[in-house]
Symmetry: C2
Subunit: 264 residues, 2 copies
């Protein structure tokens, strides 16, 4: 079944998702996938489909999204950095960049690389700016949360989610995963000084092999209930155990979410 | 000479400068000053001039610009956070935010506060992303520098500039300062991991009471000559001592410059 004339490439991709309707190609609205798929034929003459590690939603950003694509031979051989540079030249001035391109094993080959199925770990960051004033520089790039949040309590509650659980409470109704059971390897909540007026940035790092649809945003939207003092850590535990989306908090806005890294 | 009916307020301001022709009001092009001056009458009915600590150039960003403004009495007294909130409401959706507003002593009062003349210290950050691939998320928010830079050598050279010097080599031809002699209190060059593909962020922190026009950008544009290995630290010292702008490096792009803080 393998086509030995094709070479599979792994692309690592960075983007600001604000002006896009997410990764996935859709009719009549701009997507990251479409932008890259339209840039590829411009330098290669090849119309190709690219496959991502995960479909980020509208407004979600990426520092290390990964996708694969199968190129037919180029007229003259190209190095990875030349492919990245060539695609980027036709992505300008969009806020999307191919950070690197590396040759990998293709369909039918031993150790076949598949951006989605071969992934062993994903790291997401979620940024909350906790202060009264609206955002200037980080508009669209973080969740602006006005009421004071206690990050220590959020971190304590977050540890309840680490490990293997039924994450139905944090699963979007449209999630297509076969099972709500996932293993979360890390969920750390840390605070950082944001401005000289006492504003803080709360950074939530979520790591695991795979996630349900909206899982990170739903976990964050529920953690803030603990941060605000509306919920105790016990209430948070009860929400997880309820296995019921209606028992969780809101879905945190896309603006704060960054796909940082995919490991293979 | 003091007008006791006016109350002076200190505003701390954050903005993304990408889509603006700098702080200062100009004809027919958008500026940060104009955006704020147009928002103020919307909530207060008062047409006022605001005075900044320093006029940032086109494309330069701020995390902690400071300005002052003299308000006539409001119909009912307003707290600082209410003033900030009211201005921000009329700045939307522009990437500009009044982070705080504090009452200060006005013209003719003892300890009169003046955003520009009372400033005792300013902190600028300059961000360089050092990697081959074009920028995605940080487009317009950092200087993209492709060739490898040695940050240690840059830091060593930077220490030559700390202290009181004639900074003519780093002074723009249009600079209106009376003297090219300034005291630079700190010029630190540090590196940080930027992406998982080996890209690094080089952060340059410059601190001092005041700066010449384009001084930070000209210092950065000259430091990269050392970072690239084109110049030795001795060459860098000779450039300072030449007191001649034509002996310095290029003016680094506005994109990477952030006014972080002004102290009083």
């Amino acid at each position: 079944m393998s086509d030995q004339t094709l070479q599979r490439w792994k692309l690592t991709i960075e983007y600001c998702g604000t002006d896009y309707y997410g990764w996935q190609r859709q009719e009549a609205v701009p997507s990251i996938q479409q932008a890259i798929e339209e840039a590829i034929p411009e330098f290669s003459g090849q119309v190709l489909r690219i496959h991502a590690a995960g479909r980020t939603d509208a407004g979600v950003h990426a520092r290390g999204q990964v996708a694969h694509v199968d190129f037919a031979p180029f007229k003259k051989p190209m190095e990875g950095f030349e492919i990245a540079k060539a695609i980027n030249a036709f992505l300008r001035p969009q806020p999307i960049s191919i950070v690197s391109a590396e040759p990998v094993a293709g369909a039918g080959e031993e150790d076949e690389f598949h951006a989605r199925y071969s992934a062993t770990n994903k790291l997401y960051h979620y940024r909350i700016i906790n202060r009264r004033a609206l955002l200037g520089l980080d508009q669209g790039r973080a969740w602006h949360f006005k009421r004071p949040l206690g990050a220590d309590a959020m971190h304590e509650a977050a540890q309840i989610l680490v490990g293997q659980h039924d994450f139905s409470t944090f699963r979007d109704a449209q999630c297509q995963a076969n099972s709500p059971i996932k293993t979360l390897d890390r969920l750390d909540v840390t605070t950082h000084e944001y401005d000289a007026q006492g504003g803080t940035e709360i950074l939530i790092a979520a790591e695991g092999r795979s996630f349900l649809h909206h899982q990170v945003r739903n976990m964050v939207g529920t953690l803030v209930l603990v941060g605000e003092g509306k919920w105790s850590v016990q209430d948070f535990k009860a929400a997880l155990e309820a296995k019921d989306r209606t028992k969780g908090g809101v879905t945190a806005p896309a603006d704060g979410l960054y796909l940082m890294r995919v490991d293979y």
